[in-house]
């Protein structure tokens, strides 16, 4: 494989960076080269976090070029759209978690958090290849409220064939240091029932 570019869009504290490393480790085990770049805001929690995961036989730079993403994994709807506008093209696979996280400007009432349906509509305009589900709610239901990232990973794993699931599980073992077993179970669960879960948690 020449190169595959993933942009992970998240809010600090959601586990976006961990997700990038899980994929990176999986890609490494599969035998690809890996470059992960990240753009962090100044705060540890609650700021915009974008990571780029680039894998393939010949990758050099840690940044994805504009319109060059093969996939966008959005752990938060507004951030998914922000990333999609810059990095998506017509064929980009977009997976978006529909659970919103307000910003301090929307909390303070200075700006409006846009209606979820509008965000999803717009993502669909950008790419037909769009999957939306409330991954946070699903993870919560399974007793793992901080595992939105693992649910999104599992959806991604089931919709693409660049890396086999067992490598992702190795990645989880390396980078998810707490509740590792439970997260692997969660990953497998989503993998087995992916279409059902997407339909059930579509909002």
């Amino acid at each position: 494989m020449n190169e595959y570019n993933i942009v992970i869009a998240s809010v600090g504290g959601q586990g976006g960076l961990t997700l990038s490393r899980i994929i990176g480790q999986a890609a490494l085990l599969k035998g690809y080269h890996v470059r992960i770049g990240e753009t962090l805001g100044m705060s540890q929690r609650g700021g915009i976090v974008q990571s780029y995961v680039r894998i393939g036989d010949t990758v050099e730079s840690p940044i994805v070029g504009e319109g060059e993403a093969n996939a966008i994994l959005g752990l938060e709807p507004v951030e998914a759209l922000r990333a999609a506008k810059r990095y998506a093209n017509d064929d980009t696979l977009i997976i978006v978690n529909t659970e919103p996280i307000h910003t301090i400007t929307t909390i303070a009432g200075r700006e409006k958090y846009p209606p979820l349906l509008d965000i999803l509509d717009e993502l669909r305009t950008i790419s037909r290849n769009m999957i939306a589900l409330n991954a946070t709610e699903y993870a919560k239901n399974k007793g793992l409220p901080y595992s939105t990232n693992v649910v999104v990973l599992a959806v991604f794993a089931s919709k693409t064939s660049i890396i086999e699931p067992e490598y992702y599980i190795e990645g989880i073992k390396t980078f998810v240091r707490r509740l590792t077993k439970e997260n692997i179970e969660l990953f497998n669960n989503v993998l087995r029932n992916v279409n059902k879960i997407i339909t059930m948690f579509s909002q």
Binding site: R35, S61, I107
Partner: protein
């Protein structure tokens, strides 16, 4: 596989490492015995990786009070025959430069590498200073790796070069090298004897004789003249590809060059510089003869470009040079593949083949809200600034009548709504100095300086001495969150144990401040709004220097140690949906959910600050954090 296992992996193994972790590995491979630094993005993870491993690998790896002290520790060790390391962020160089510049005259007896991590972008730094000029100013050889593998491998080369030249080496990186995670193959550990010896050699170590200084300067130039030759023996600087069209580059820009050449399927010669000071003119002249045109691809200042133009002029080269202007490569911000792609279109005279981003124009219905970085739920700084602002108002001043000087750390996030508290964030420790200036200039209303615990130790102390000595009316709030939170919760001098597990003697801020002669010193709990307000009100108009220490552990740090409190609940029968709690705190854990306040339980730390601002007493408290004292570890 833990970080430790990856960093210490067997030679030849391929592992996933972040640039800074890779540098740490290179430092361990090089058998460095003393490593010191001051936390600062994007450099922090080097010492953070080394410290917990230090016992195991037999190294001293600790944080110092500031970059100058860190560098002096490393220099002292290297003068005495021990391989050493100093790390710092870009402006850290400014702090350490007094010692670094003199170190070029002194030299070292064993390898010394100074990692200076610049931040084009900037992502997290007050300026985009290009520290390649720092190497030129200090006259110290500089090596620039382009990617994570080189960041690891070139550490070893840097130590060899340092020892051959007897000079400290500046290892200049940028965020995209420090913070990129990549697959890397780790190398062999060198294992050679190092013995401490302290040399008595006045001409070398005493800078008080001007004739000695001149002689050492001559010695330095002599050493520098050998740098290029030694570097080439270490395989630094290289040329790739072919053709009369050439590209001169260094650092991470090289990766953008490489990828775009491949994407556009163009043949060109890449001249990749790795020793970028002293200017490798011989290497350049040897390799540039076949070039008809040359494009310089570099971030920030036209450092390579200016040197290239000088070389071309000195040697009357017939060369068409494309620099920043000609290629449209910006002086501001970091480069990326797209910028370099566009520069290539110009230089190679091509038409755009990039995918047409037509969806961009299709997708513009939704207005995306901004997401400025907020203070975390339970952040003690929230209480400090809420109390400070409230006290200013209660003392009869308008908000913009009492300037609040900010400083560098998480508390600078108080610039965002709803607090919008600080008026400045300038340089480490500058809050106190700037406040002094404002008072001395004659401003007749109170001025407040707010400064973090570590920032106070780093560079706030001299300014506070000045304030006491000159008897300036000033309120200084030291926001002690019991760690260097912003850069990843490093230890401060108040700790009793360091990251490497060593027991140390804590230095308490209150003792320091009293020792400086401050008579008015109070310690408050930022979760206790009333206490903060009362203290500030009391201190604001008193003459002389007043210090209030607002002490409470960083919530994120406490959380990781398993400490948090039960979230308060809102009694719906009392709540009027006025949203005072949501608006006053700006806490991400309490939101306006369709016109009603909602505490998001799994995010709430339980600081109870929102409850303390409710005018209707509608909160039912379920825990009292004020009863518990979080301590220094």
């Amino acid at each position: 596989m833990s970080l430790a296992e990856r960093v210490l992996a067997e030679p030849g193994k391929r592992v996933l490492l972040m640039g800074n972790e890779a540098i740490a590995r290179g430092v361990i491979e090089s058998n460095v015995k003393v490593a010191s630094g001051y936390p600062g993005t994007p450099s922090s993870e080097i010492i953070m990786t080394l410290a917990p491993l230090s016992k195991k690998v037999g190294m001293y790896a600790e944080w110092a009070t500031n970059e100058k002290v860190a560098f002096e520790i490393a220099l002292g060790a290297a003068m005495s025959g021990i391989r050493s390391l100093a790390t710092m962020k870009a402006p850290g160089y400014n702090v350490a430069s007094d010692s670094i510049v003199s170190a070029a005259y002194t030299g070292v007896n064993k390898g010394l590498v100074i990692v200076i991590a610049d931040d084009p972008g900037p992502h997290t730094t007050q300026t985009e200073q290009d520290n390649r000029w720092a190497a030129k100013l200090a006259k110290l050889p500089m090596i620039e790796p382009s990617n994570v593998q080189e960041a690891l491998d070139y550490v070893k080369k840097a130590y060899v070069l340092s020892e051959r030249l007897q000079l400290p080496i500046i290892y200049r990186t940028t965020t995209r090298v420090n913070h990129t995670v990549s697959d890397v193959v780790v190398g062999e550990f060198v294992n050679e004897e190092q013995e401490v010896f302290v040399e008595y050699n006045p001409e070398r170590y005493i800078r008080a004789s001007m004739s000695w200084n001149r002689r050492r300067h001559e010695w330095l130039l002599e050493q520098l003249s050998k740098a290029e030759k030694y570097a080439s023996e270490l395989d630094l600087n290289r040329i790739e590809g072919k053709g009369e069209d050439c590209i001169l580059t260094s650092g991470v820009s090289y990766t953008y060059v490489k990828e775009n050449l491949k994407r556009l399927q163009i043949d060109a010669s890449i001249i990749k510089l790795e020793l970028t000071y002293p200017w490798p003119e011989k290497f350049l002249l040897d390799n540039i003869t076949k070039c008809r045109r040359i494009l310089v691809v570099e971030e920030l200042d036209p450092y390579l470009e200016e040197h290239l133009r000088q070389t071309a002029q000195r040697h009357r080269l017939e060369l068409e040079i494309w620099g920043k202007n000609e290629a449209g490569i910006p002086l501001v911000g970091e480069l990326n593949p797209t910028i370099v792609y566009n520069a290539f279109l110009k230089f190679f005279n091509l038409n755009s083949t990039i995918k047409n981003n037509s969806q961009k124009s299709r997708a513009n219905k939704v207005r995306l809200p901004q997401r400025p970085p907020p203070m975390c739920p339970g952040c003690p700084h929230r209480g400090s600034y809420m109390g400070l602002l409230k006290a200013i108002q209660k003392s009869g001043y308008r908000k913009r009548e009492v300037p609040i000087m900010g400083d560098i750390g998480c508390y600078a996030l108080s610039l965002e709504p709803p607090l919008e508290a600080i008026w400045t964030e300038h340089a480490m420790g500058a809050s106190i100095g700037l406040a002094l200036g404002i008072k001395i200039a004659g401003y007749d209303k109170p001025v407040v300086a707010t400064i973090g615990d570590s920032t106070f130790f780093h560079a706030g102390m001299p300014a506070l001495v000045e304030a006491v000595n000159k008897n300036v009316d000033l309120l200084v709030m030291i926001l002690d969150n019991i760690s260097i939170a912003m850069t990843g919760h490093q230890s401060t001098p108040e700790f009793t144990i360091t990251e490497s597990g060593r027991k140390v003697k804590p230095v308490k801020i209150e003792d320091v401040v009293r020792g400086m002669g401050v008579e008015y010193v109070r310690i408050v709990d930022p979760f206790n709004l009333e206490e903060v307000v009362e203290a500030v009100k009391d201190a604001l108009n008193k003459p002389g220097v007043k210090v209030i220490i607002a002490r409470r552990e960083c919530a994120l740090q406490a959380w990781r140690r398993g400490i948090s409190y039960k979230p308060p609940v809102i009694d719906r029968s009392k709540c009027t949906d006025c949203m005072a709690c949501v608006r006053a705190t700006g806490c991400p854990a309490i939101i306006d959910a369709g016109g009603k306040p909602l505490v998001i339980e799994e995010q709430c730390y339980g600081c109870n600050l929102c409850a303390q601002v409710c005018p209707f007493d509608a909160f039912i408290l379920r825990d009292n954090p004020l009863l518990k004292v979080d301590g220094h570890e």
